[in-house]
Amino acid sequence: MNFSKIYALGLRHLYLIMNSFPRVLDLIYWPTVQIFLWGFISKFFTLNSEYYSNTVGVILTAAILYDFLFRASISFNMMFLEEIWSRNFTNLFIAPLKIREIIAALTLTAILRTLIGLIPAVLIAIPLFGVSVLKLGVPLVFLLLALYLFGITLGLLVTSGLLRYGPSFENIAWASLFFLAPLGCIYYPIEILPNLLQTIAKGLPLVHIFEEMRSILLNDTVNYLNILKSISISLVYFIIGVIIFYISYFGAKKRGTLINMGE
């Protein structure tokens, strides 16, 4: 791994953000809208639901964590799509970069885009709704790690699809997260799901992450084994995502799609 090349790719995306105020605004806008929306919903449920009584902020914290996952994945996809839209794809893939350096650069730079979008929203939630994700304490770091790994994995799967099917796969990029959200048990316990879906859901890290989040906020107990489980599952998916990306890259070379990408 050559870190100066990874830095150069990161710099390319940093310049893109710095050169465009509307782009920064766009990054901040959606998470902030989410916080307002879920903040009011959360407030309503807190006042009217037995399950959520005296547990201000569970839904809003879930919304923030889910948005973190969403932003991480979308950031990864967006940076890849930017290369296609700007017709820079060929230049990038003929540069002396290893494929793992491209993956590393996208993975590391996605965190920057994610945080630019999310930090203002998280800060707004504190005075406006009296909710701070920091209440999760040290486990928050590990929950975010698990979410980030899984978000990047979804990004890897979507970009693999872009390599395989070309820019027409773009719409899937936007839909990918909504597909998994019902199984993620973000706002409700896993018991709500039918038995078959519960089995599938347990294979996703999201269930364990959000169960743990609720456990910390509702019962004030931390189960590090559960957190470790969620990180391990995310890591397995991440490795699978990387393998699929490589397969798609070699497949794209075979089909010749790398040379006309974006045209």
């Binding site: 050559n2 100066s4 090349k5 830095y7 150069a8 790719l9 710099l11 390319r12 310049y15 893109l16 050169n19 465009s20 930017e82 290369e83 700007s86 017709r87 820079n88 794809f89 060929t90 230049n91 893939f93 003929i94 540069a95 002396p96 970069l97 290893k98 494929i99 350096e101 070699f250 070379k253 075979k254 089909r255 010749g256 790398l258 040379i259 045209e263």
Partner: protein
């Protein structure tokens, strides 16, 4: 031999894009790759750049199969420019050159950017976003990017397509001057016959994925009894079954 293409083929599904082509490129020579649209030029360039995997055959660089090199090691010896491939539009010219300079691991990058920018006369729009430039300006920036690493092997795909005669001549003169001053091997795909006559030591004619003839410009013109390269190209492109 510096570059040797041996029995190279590419099949997309049932379509035979490149059909067992063989050619060699000597070090520091400029070879023109000519042929009608869809004849396999871009696929051949794609295979040389590692963007397309050959179905059959091999590409040898200094007698060593290209696949035996590490991807980043071989690619830092190459570069490529084409008006159909652009640089990020929202980045300034300087930012783009900086990014690519870093990706190619250029030492004294600031000096190299200054040097190449002065040579190609792009300093006046250094701070402008690349997407705001005219076609001529974009082509010069794209050429600057393709030379940032002082490549040993430069692949050019129609470098002067859609440019006005003045800018086209500027680019051709620059490439001519650059190859005289620097030790560089160039493969030039072009539909501009004057450009090919001016820049290339020899040419390869392709049609339907095959090489149908090769030689110096004069050799081909004389061999086919035509007055210039354009007429020779038309004869070769239109005569379906002769070859």
């Amino acid at each position: 031999m510096f570059i040797e293409i041996k029995n190279l083929s590419k099949i997309y599904g049932k379509f035979l894009a490149v059909n067992k082509i063989n050619f060699q490129i000597e070090k520091h020579k400029t070879i023109g790759l000519l042929g009608p649209n869809g004849c396999g030029k871009t696929t051949t360039i794609g295979m040389m750049l590692g963007l397309v995997s050959p179905t059959e055959g091999e590409i040898l660089i200094e007698n060593k199969n290209m696949n035996s090199f590490k991807r980043d090691e071989i690619l830092k010896r190459f570069n490529f420019a084409s008006p159909y491939v652009e640089l990020p539009k929202k980045l300034t010219v300087k930012q783009n050159l900086e990014i690519y300079g870093r990706l190619y691991g250029i030492e004294n990058l600031e000096n190299r950017i200054n040097e190449i920018s002065s040579d190609l006369d792009i300093k006046s729009f250094f701070r402008r976003k690349t997407g705001e430039l005219s076609s001529g300006q974009k082509n010069r920036v794209s050429l600057a990017k393709s030379l940032i690493n002082k490549p040993e092997i430069l692949l050019l795909d129609e470098p002067t397509a859609s440019l006005d005669p003045d800018i086209g001549d500027f680019i051709r003169s620059y490439i001519q001057e650059y190859k005289m001053k620097n030790k560089i091997t160039i493969l030039l795909a072009s539909h501009n016959m004057n450009e090919v006559e001016r820049l290339c030591n020899s040419i390869i004619m392709m049609r339907s994925g095959k090489i149908i003839d090769s030689g110096t410009c004069n050799e081909l013109i004389q061999k086919h009894g035509r007055n210039n390269l354009e007429e020779t190209f038309l004869k070769l492109a239109r005569s379906k079954d002769e070859f």
